[in-house]
Each structure stands twice: as structure tokens, then as C-alpha cells.
Amino acid sequence: MASSSMRRYLLSRVAMTLPMLLILLTVVFLMLRVIPGDPIAATVGDRVSSEELENRREAAGLNDPLIVQYGRYLLGAVTGDFGNPVTDRRTTVQVIADTFPASFELVVVAMIVAVGFGVTIGAIAGRLRDTPFDVAGRLFGIVSYAAPVFWVALLGQLYLSVRLGWFPTGGRASGFDAPESITGFYVLDSLLTWDLSALGASLYHLILPGFTLGLVFGGIFLRFVRVNMLQTLRADYVEAAHARGVSERLVLFRHAFKNAMVPVVTITGLQFALLLGNSILTERVFSWPGLGNALLSFLGARDYVGVQGIITFYAVVVVVISLLIDVVNALIDPRIRH
């Protein structure tokens, strides 16, 4: 494998994403400076003495010129200092460390569900264009996406938790059920400590929220994969393979499906970001202690610094994911590598 060209490609991709990150961070910085006055006053102005306010402002560096604050903010974003929220004693990084693993686990489960059924049904539907299966699959994809995440979550809660009692109504595994906290990712921690009952409890709590979130977004994969299958099945190389007597099954899997999946990898990255965003709704319904809920509390408390910190973190995560997607793309598509 031409690894030097791969390295060059990676470096160029990194170089391309840096401007994107810069723009995002600048937008975030400016957004939360549009409010009149300063962030701290806006949050606790009416509850704290003016002297205390001035001290806090000085400590937070809010009296420095804007450009200096901007520079400090950017530096912090890349070194992992996302600020100190006004209404929380923890630093933003600590808040994130406490809550992000929960969100991440949720999103991973949702992704598995979404990709699992979305890709399978989408591929089959693409092959069986306009048959009842295809129409049903398409409709299912459309309707499931049309159902709001929070609504599906609520109904799931109502029927499967409250009425039937099959799943917990919310929350993560906690107390004695929770595994020893090493990384914060419960499933991982349970495996690392080989605590099978904790593993079971973690998964048990993950299923309903993960599934409801994944179901809704599986529809996107379904439709996308279907369209890609339709297109690759018409491709010239597919016809040529048929003309060589390659079996239907091999043509489908080896040529059509593989090629159809290449663009799917790209949207997987986008989907991850989408799921991360929408998980805030699931977290609300299931009282899931994730980053989304943390953001909501900061918003509710008008804690601009906290909000900014979390949004900055989201921006960084999203950019890293898009970079990872580029890498994976280069690995699977030889045309990009060379």
C-alpha cells in the first residue's frame, strides 16, 4: 500500500478541517457574546453583589479585550480547557467527562440499530425495486423518520415500561448495578472488570432509549442505501459482470452492494453527528445523565459559559469524526488513496 501517499492525503485532510474548526469555534464564540453585558452578569447578575461580580469577571478574564479573550478561547479549545461554568463547581471538562460517556454509549447503540436495519432493508429494497417489499420498506423508512424521537420515546416508555414493565423507565444503571467507574463507559467498564451483572444492567438500561433513537434514524439509512443500490445496480460494471456469467448473488454482494456502501460510510459520520444532536431529546425523556441534559440545565440556568463550553466540545467532536470518516473513506476506496 502506498503509505506515503496515504500520509500526504491525511495531512491534507487535516489541513482542510482546520479552517472548518476555526470557523465553527469563531461562530460559537461570537454567538455567545451577542448578549448585552457579559456572560457572568447575565447568569448570576441579580443574585450576587457587584463586588463579587467584578471579582468573578476579573477571574474569568472578561475584562480583557475581546481579541485576547478570543485567542484564549481558541487555545483552550485545542488544549482541552473549555472554561468554568458559572452555576457549577466543576470545570466544563469535568462536566463533559461525567456526562459524555453516557451520551456516547446511547448514540453507539442507536447507530447499531439504525445501521443494522437501515442498511439491510435498504439494500434489499433497492434490489427489489417497486415490489411490495420495496414499497413497504420505503414507507416504513419514511414514517419512522416522521415520528418525532421524543414521541416514540414517550410511547415506548408508556407501553413498554409503565404498562408492561419490560424495561426501566429511565436512567442509567446506577447504584449497585453500575460497574466500577474506569472510563465512564459502562459497557466497557463492565467488560474490563468482567462484571457480568453490571454489563447486563447497563445494557438493560440502554436498550429502550437506544432503540427508540435508532429506529427513527434508521429510516435515513434505509432510504439512502436504497437509492445507492438502485444506482449501482444500473452501473456499467454490473452489466459487464452479468455478461461474464457471474452469478446473481455475487454480482449483488461483491459489485453492487460494496460500491453502494462507499458513500454510506460518509453519511455515517454525518449521521453520528445527527444522532448526537438528537440524543438530547432521548436523554430528556429517559432522564439519561448525558451531555445533552447537561447542556439543557446550563441553558435553563442561563449559564453562558457552560453552554459555550459544551457547544465547543461538540464542535471539536464533530470535526474529529469528519476526519475519521475521511480516513476510512481513503482506506476503502482505492481511487482516493492514489
Partner: protein, 433 residues
């Protein structure tokens, strides 16, 4: 020879008189975005120093294969692509540096006819709107009514009668031949002086081509047009053109009077093009065709010296041999010798991808230096290929073998048989760049 009926116009072109268009050392290069981190900005040398002229009233044929730069050259002459350097003298004025504002009044005199009739007309405009648009742009009519009149008249001129019937329909409803007539109508409605026709009949069936070509010749006669006829089809070029220029990888390799060029081609590439044309005469089928090997390389990395040398059937020592040619030689050799020999020779050279190409030759790092040196000497002695004549050294270099080549300059245009030819066969005349 061109159609006798049209001969009157062609001969009215004054040979040696003031050219309509004088092209002097024209270059059109495109930067290639190699990503933010590429060390050097790669450049596609689509047109790499072209000099010729076009006489008023003539049909000048620009012949080349795809990748030769003929399309880019045609566009550059109309300033639809910006020349990187050189002069473009149109009726005495150098328009190479003109900006769009300066060009606009001139555009009335310049026209372009494309190859693909399906994509040359705006699907969102009716025939009247599309064909009449140039009249509005250059203020040649007062109002819509007059425009429609002129369009209808032009449509009839190109053979779409009755003109009015076609005015309000969309181009998609017409056949290929009819669409091409529309394209011609639009191009000529402002009565231009110079028309660049880029493969105007390539997309049409044989039985339809003649009609469109006849139309073009007729219009040339009536309107006193000068054509640049861009094509890869030598047969059509022979029929239509007064003078011809053969383009290869951004360079003009031979140009001059059409008849003598076809009767007695001087450049090996011209000769190859002629030999390669499949003749609709079964009796001539097993004739000797000295075909070039390989395909045209891409314009980003042109071969050293004469650009045609890696493929030329009669290349010899000064043509510009370089390391890449030696690698290509091995590759080709390994398709004709038997498997065991391939194995042993491959063992001697090592993987060809690992070879280090340098300005003056190539260095083989992998493989077996002793065996390689022996092999190379053997090939050199048995005259396996003219490139070995240019080898100046086969030496040990560190852990490998370095093969160096002598100088091989790029040939400049010389006057041979009344034409301009760029080939060392007629005497080595290096080109200054």
C-alpha cells in the same frame, strides 16, 4: 481537395497576406489543485507553446487526439480560456491580455460551434430566445419582433423551414441534426468573421454529416467566414480544410498546406495518424501499418525532448530518451518474452515502481545490480531499442545501478516541404523555451 463549389472562397484567401489570426508561442496552463500541502503546484500544460496563423477566408484544420489540447487551444483563441503567455493577434491587435469587457464587442465577430448538439443549447430557452440571444446582446435589433424575424430568416438559411414553425419550441424536441443546425444558426446570426467549430459533426450519423458540412461550406461562401475546424477525423479534415495543423500534447508538430500534408507527411505522428485510419476498402486491409505503441501521456508530465518519442516508430538517438522510457521498455518486453525470462529479468531490475527516476536517467535500487548491469549491456549490444543509443552510462551507484542518458532536446519547427515540421529526422534543431 475541398468541394469544388467552395473552392472559390478558399482561393480568395490571400496567401502570405495579413493573417486574420496570428498565434505566437501561445501557452495555456491550468493549475492542478494538489491539495493544500502538495510541495509543488502541478500544472497541466494543455497548450504548451503553439505558433501558427490563420488566413482570412480559409478553413484551417486543427487535428489531434483527445489529450492533445486541441479543444483548449480552440477555446483560448476565442478567449474562453485565458492564455498563460504568448500573443494572440486578431486583425492586428494582440487580444491575449484583453479582459472580458474589452472582449465583449469583439465577440460579435467570433463564434463557437460545439460537438454535442444535445448539450449546446439551453434547455430553458425556446429556439427563438436561444438563437436570437446574440442579437440582443450586441444590440443588433430593435425589439422582440425584429429579433424573431431575423431568427426565422436564419433558421430558413440553415435549412429549417418554415422558420416560424420552429420559433416557439424547445430544442429537446428536435433531432440531432436539427439541433446542430440550430447551433450553427445561433453562431452565425451576428455574421461573425471567425468561427471555431469543435468537432461539429462528430456526434452525428454518417448519412447526416454531409448535409451539415455542406451547410457550413455554403455559409462560409455566403458570409465570407474563416473557420478553425477542430477534429480528430483526418478524412473530414482533408476534405474540408485548406491548411492543417497537427497537435500532439500541446505542441504543433506539423502544419501547412493540407493537400501536401496528406500526400507526403513529414512528421512520424502525422504519418501514424494517416496509417491508423481504417479504410472502407477491404482490399487494402492487410497493408503495413507502422503504428505507434502506447497512448498519449497526460499533459501534466510530458515526456522529455520530443514529446512523441516514447511512441514514435522511427525515434532515434537525439529524441529525448529518459528513465521512464527504459521502464516502459521493460514492461513492454515482458509481454512478449516467456514467463521464465520475465522472472529472471524482474529479479534483476527489482520492482519497477521502486526505481528512482531522475532528471538525467534512472536508478535501480532493488533487484540484483550485477545481473542488471549484465542484462543492460546485453540489451545495448543487441540493439534491442533505439533508446540504448542515448545511454551514456551504466554504473554502480551505491547499492544500485544508475543508467544515465545523454541530452535529447525538444525539436523546433523547421520549414520542410513548404510546411512547418518539428522533428529531429530532418536535422536536430533544439527549441528554446
Amino acid at each position: 481537395m475541398s468541394d469544388p463549389a467552395a473552392a472559390t472562397t478558399s482561393s480568395s484567401s490571400v496567401d502570405g497576406g495579413e493573417p486574420l489570426l496570428d498565434v505566437v508561442d501561445l501557452h495555456t496552463h491550468f493549475p492542478v489543485r494538489g491539495g493544500l500541502l502538495s510541495r509543488h503546484k502541478d500544472v497541466v500544460r494543455a497548450v504548451d507553446g503553439v505558433t501558427f496563423d490563420i488566413q482570412p477566408g480559409e478553413v484551417f484544420g486543427l487535428v489531434g487526439e483527445s489529450g492533445s489540447g486541441k479543444t483548449t487551444l480552440g477555446r483560448t483563441l476565442l478567449k474562453l480560456a485565458d492564455p498563460t503567455s504568448g500573443s494572440l493577434i486578431y486583425q492586428g491587435r494582440d487580444i491575449a491580455g484583453y479582459d472580458e469587457k474589452q472582449m465583449r464587442p469583439l465577440r460579435r465577430e467570433l463564434a463557437l460551434v460545439f460537438q454535442d448538439p444535445n448539450a449546446s443549447l439551453n434547455p430553458a430557452m425556446t429556439v427563438a430566445q436561444g438563437v436570437g440571444h446574440p442579437l440582443l446582446i450586441h444590440g443588433l435589433v430593435d425589439g422582440r419582433a425584429q429579433m424573431r424575424e431575423r431568427v426565422a430568416a436564419m433558421l430558413e438559411r440553415v435549412g429549417l423551414t418554415p422558420g416560424e414553425r420552429f420559433l416557439d419550441i424547445y430544442p429537446q424536441d428536435l433531432s440531432g441534426g436539427q439541433k446542430q443546425r440550430l447551433v450553427i444558426a445561433r453562431a452565425l446570426i451576428t455574421e461573425p468573421k471567425f468561427v471555431v467549430a469543435d468537432e461539429p459533426v462528430a456526434a452525428l450519423d454518417m448519412s447526416v454529416r454531409a448535409r451539415v458540412l455542406e451547410l457550413m461550406l455554403e455559409l462560409q461562401r455566403d458570409l465570407g467566414l474563416t473557420y478553425l475546424f477542430i477534429t480528430h477525423d483526418l478524412a473530414t479534415a482533408r476534405f474540408l480544410c485548406d491548411r492543417i495543423g497537427i497537435l500532439y500534447l500541446g505542441n504543433m508538430v506539423e502544419w501547412g498546406d493540407a493537400d501536401s500534408l496528406f500526400d507526403d507527411p513529414q512528421h512520424p505522428y502525422t504519418r501514424s495518424l494517416l496509417d491508423a485510419i481504417p479504410l472502407p476498402d477491404p482490399r487494402r486491409r492487410d497493408r503495413d501499418k507502422n503504428l505507434p505503441v502506447g497512448e498519449m501521456p497526460d499533459a501534466q508530465t510530458p515526456p522529455k525532448g520530443c514529446r512523441f518519442h516514447p511512441r514514435c516508430p522511427v525515434a532515434f538517438e537525439p529524441c529525448g530518451w529518459e528513465g521512464a522510457d527504459l521502464l516502459a521498455f521493460f514492461e513492454r518486453r515482458w509481454t512478449v518474452v516467456d514467463g521464465d525470462q520475465v522472472e529472471s529479468e524482474l529479479a534483476a531490475t527489482g520492482s519497477l515502481q521502486a526505481a528512482d527516476l531522475r532528471d538525467d536517467g534512472v536508478r535501480f535500487d532493488a533487484g540484483n545490480p550485477v545481473a542488471l548491469s549484465k542484462l543492460l549491456e546485453q540489451l545495448r549490444t543487441e540493439q534491442a531499442h533505439p533508446l540504448f543509443d542515448a545511454v551514456t552510462g551504466i554504473e554502480r551507484d551505491g547499492g544500485g545501478i544508475a543508467v544515465t542518458f545523454g541530452d535529447g532536446p525538444e525539436p523546433d519547427l523547421q520549414t520542410i516541404a513548404g510546411r512547418q515540421v518539428a522533428c529531429h529526422l530532418h536535422g536536430t534543431v533544439p527549441r528554446e523555451r
